[in-house]
């Protein structure tokens, strides 16, 4: 009883001792915050990685191929039996993506994935990461009229954006054409007025006239529909993704009344042998788009911090814009291939590594482009088979089963691994980081322990007389010792308890705190453009908190053992004599 009473009274009257456990409090709070944030980070990352990577995959090198993927899937399904939920075939290849950014060329390397739009979404978390909400519900590689993130794109995405952009482009081109013709008219009028000059010029321009179709020849005041220099009309109408001919030009080039187009070209001697093309067969960028491609959001999105401090999104390319991809065919003599695509959506997993490099094309399209389709059977080969397992299946066991099915001595080019194998370096780095942080923070608490030891030793020295009194009144050494052990424990408990409360509150409001610190210091604490997440993820693990609390209290008790032992060993007479 007296032990409790005295521990309590010492606790209440000795604020210096409370000060000595502030470091315990801080240590505990920091431990909880660090553990929660790291756990949240790992948790989120695992979720995302897992979602993107699928459970198990069989892959080969990106410039090689797995032939007969259907047969492989069949064998895999047989091997795994009930454990398998779905399998999908993927072609992966590095590629170059290039597009126009306000007249300047942008080219970057990407990882191109050819995906089967029916099964891919069942094997990985693909669809939830798309920005278009219609695509999230029913996936396709078509450009959508609507459903693009209003907040992100402010309406500048999809069909409407594409039509507006093309319309503007056409108008600009019409203007420049008009300017050209005005210029030419003026020039012609000028030369007509001063024939003496024309003579000298015409002599020099004779060669040019031949090459360029008599551009500077003295012509009638109204110029016929001659296309711009260096562009043949076929290119202008049929092949170019961004049509160079205006609607008016098209109308002009249609000589007919019956709705057919005669490819009129004064320079094409074979024009009359070419088949006639119906107008609805023509590629009209206002109504049609190229092969749909889905780009990682970070390829296009740039977060720009304005001088005022707010973040603004800028986009290099938007859904509805066209882009070229350049890749090579597979085989023993790879050839470069260029394909024009239309961006139909963005993929935003918030894993920067993926968002900044991934692009998705339809599987068959990519197989075709890379020459992966067997001309005899019409079957395409793939580079990866991704497998999703049923809940509770043992990943490593499945991997081993598959390795047994495709033994490395027969399939040395196959790489069979789980998503954890793939991300092992990252996951183990994070784990090691957490371990080291925990050790360091426990060292902080241990340092606090020495503070407690010193403080307690002083208190024991100060309380020597009281200890003598208690002993003189018949208190056993054990009892005296337990006063100080109890004191240490209650201090440790108070410190730890306060630390836990502070830590949990900090974790709960961590994003608000980060914002507040950012406002106060002007330094952004958590930059979403650097990290994988838009806000700091946290997971509070009760087991961790329990062990942190146990550890901290144990350190406080251990630190009070030495002073308590000293107190217990005091001789009552000596202690009483102590003044």
């Amino acid at each position: 009883m007296y032990k409790l009473l005295l521990s309590w009274r010492y606790l209440k009257t000795r604020f210096i001792a409370l000060a000595s456990i502030v470091s315990v409090t801080l240590g505990v709070a920091t431990l909880i915050v660090v553990n929660s944030v790291m756990a949240g980070f790992v948790d989120q990352m695992k979720n995302r990685l897992h979602g993107i990577l699928s459970d198990v995959e069989i892959s080969t090198q990106m410039f090689s191929e797995i032939p007969h993927p259907e047969r492989h899937v069949e064998i895999i399904k047989q091997t795994l039996g009930d454990q398998i939920q779905e399998a999908t075939c993927v072609v992966r290849t590095p590629a170059l993506l290039s597009f126009d950014v306000r007249g300047r060329q942008w080219t970057q390397q990407i990882m191109l994935l050819g995906i089967d739009d029916e099964t891919f979404g069942k094997v990985t978390d693909f669809e939830p990461y798309l920005t278009n909400e219609i695509k999230r519900k029913s996936f396709s590689f078509d450009l959508e009229e609507d459903g693009y993130d209003q907040e992100k794109f402010k309406g500048d995405a999809g069909w409407k954006y594409r039509r507006t952009r093309i319309e503007i482009q056409r108008r600009i081109e019409a203007n420049s054409r008009e300017y050209d013709s005005l210029y030419d008219n003026a020039a012609n009028a000028f030369y007509a007025a001063e024939p003496s000059r024309v003579e000298t010029v015409s002599h020099e321009s004779e060669n040019i006239q031949e090459e360029q179709g008599g551009r500077f020849a003295p012509l009638p005041a109204t110029l016929p529909d001659i296309p711009p220099v260096g562009k043949s009309p076929e290119e202008g109408i049929a092949d170019q993704p961004t049509p160079l001919a205006t609607a008016d030009d098209q109308a002009e080039s249609q000589t007919s009344v019956d709705g057919t187009i005669h490819r009129i070209s004064p320079f094409d001697p074979h024009a009359k042998f070419r088949p006639e093309i119906k107008s609805e067969d023509l590629f009209d960028p206002m109504k049609d788009h190229r092969t749909g491609i889905i780009l990682g959001l970070a390829i296009s999105e740039r977060k720009v911090e304005l001088p005022s401090g707010e973040l603004q999104d800028a986009y290099l390319i938007r859904p509805g814009d066209d882009a070229n991809i350049m890749l090579t065919t597979i085989g023993d003599s790879p050839q470069p291939v260029i394909e024009n695509c239309t961006v139909v959506d963005f993929y935003s997993s918030n894993m920067h590594e993926y968002d900044s490099s991934f692009a998705f094309l339809p599987l068959s399209e990519l197989q075709q482009l890379r020459g992966m389709i067997d001309p005899m059977t019409g079957q395409g080969s793939v580079s990866t088979i991704q497998i999703k397992l049923k809940e509770g299946a043992d990943l490593d066991a499945v991997r081993d089963q598959l390795i047994a099915q495709f033994p490395p001595n027969y399939f040395p080019d196959y790489d069979i691994r789980t998503w954890q194998d793939t991300q092992r370096p990252l996951l183990s780095a994070v784990k090691m980081e957490l371990t080291i942080l925990n050790i360091l923070l426990f060292l902080i608490i241990a340092v606090a322990g020495f503070g407690i030891l010193a403080t307690f030793y002083m208190i024991v020295v100060e309380k020597t007389k009281d200890i003598g009194i208690l002993k003189a009144l018949g208190a056993p050494s054990r009892g005296v010792m337990s006063i100080f052990l109890g004191y240490g424990m209650s201090l440790g408990t108070v410190g730890t308890g306060v630390g836990i409360v502070i830590g949990l509150l900090f974790v709960k409001y961590i994003n608000e705190i980060a914002d507040a610190v950012a406002v106060l210091t002007g330094q952004e604490v958590f930059d979403p453009t650097i990290y994988y997440f838009s806000e700091i993820p946290t997971v509070v693990n009760p087991v961790t908190i329990f062990w942190v609390a146990v550890g901290a209290i144990a350190i406080a008790v251990l630190a009070s053992v030495l002073p308590a032992l000293r107190a217990a060993k005091l001789h009552p007479v000596e202690a009483l004599r102590y003044e």
């Binding site: 009274r9 208690l470 003189a472």
Partner: protein
Amino acid sequence: MSDVAPSQPLRIDPESKGDNMPASELNSNKGLSKKKSNSAPLRIVDTSVMSVNGLFKSYGKGAVQVPVLKGVDLEIEEGGFTAIIGQSGSGKSTLLHLLGTLDAPDSGEIYFRDQRIDNLPPRQQEYLRNREFGLIFQFYHLLPELTTLENVLIPRMVQDGFFRYLKNKRSYRKRAIELLEMVGLSHRLTHKPSQLSGGEMQRTAIARSLISDPSILLADEPTGNLDSENGAEVMETLTALRKHENLTVVMVTHDDQLASQADRVINLVNGVVAS
């Protein structure tokens, strides 16, 4: 002050003694001498509650041994008031500590109710100190963090476990309040020692020494640190309580005037009983 001397021979020199001796202590003798002696009527008791045979005790280590008690024999009678007097450094406080099992003698035996107590295991010595001996010190030795009432209850708290104490708490409190009333401190129950005067503190200490209903009260210069008025009050309280509770009292003092109130005076000179 005198009990400091034996263990630290260097401090016996007059200067340090002068430093440590408060003026009030010197005055107290004069003050008390004016008061008329208030001794209780003698009670003839032939049973001895404590006896001491050939007690030796020296302090210090190795070569610098300072002998304090050099063969003390004495008997303490049941219900008597024994005063041990002697000069500073004569070993009277040491003797009292040995009687109270706070210290162990070098040789010799101490008997309490015919049982040798100087070589008992610590557990039993603690029991004796807690239940059989009431100890009063010159410097009161109250616990500064506790109130008067709690200080009085401390021996009971030490004696009982947590739950047993809670069970008996009511009767203990009642007895403590009763004792504090007896020493005239019923209005000071919730005060801390720092809020009390010296006399009040000593009276609290007396109440504390009586809470466990001891059979013998060992007082080490109970008035040594008080002015004459407070000292007299404390002595009065002690005497009244002795009669009321029928106590055996052993009091160490260097004040002959106080000693004269005792039934029996033992004069300790240079570590041996003189008279």
